[in-house]
Assembly symmetry: C2
Homo-oligomer: 71 residues x 2
Amino acid sequence: MKNRMRMVNKVRLYRTYYQWTQQELAERVGVRRETILFLEKGKYNPSLYLAWELARTFRVKIEDLFDLIER
Amino acid sequence: MKNRMRMVNKVRLYRTYYQWTQQELAERVGVRRETILFLEKGKYNPSLYLAWELARTFRVKIEDLFDLIER
DNA sequence: ACAATATATTAGAAATACATAACAGAAATA
DNA sequence: TATTTCTGTTATGTATTTCTAATATATTGT
């Protein structure tokens, strides 16, 4: 979509803060473990649904969890 | 979990507030006019990228533009 | 009424999020 | 060391978002 912007996130940051495994977080938000892994690795960007669930699980705003920065 | 929740948005509300056509808004956020139409009609939910661009364009938070409610 | 513009509908293609599964290496722990 | 758990990789399949284009209807202005 936007070629000059790139999405970064703090999923791993918050997950390790809560001391959850990828599997634990995956179950909490209702996705597969690999989905969490790929998100953390920046291999793909989430849907708004998933972003919402993650932010809710971490008790933060979506804008705090995800950020759009210059490439 | 995901099935008992449904996403609503204020895209049409903010678009008409700014007196933009679907075409105008589409150009501002970099998508097709039909994408805006389907979003307003709730025919599909946006990517986080698009949600971000829309919120930025309307100068609101993503959580203000989109809401996850009980079905 | 006529013309121009905005919105709506449909269908198919393209792109990508996410699922699923199998396996491998790293790290922790007994 | 041996075993378990966690993380990473790859490959393939499915579902959904978005694009594209064509056409139809509604709305607005002259």
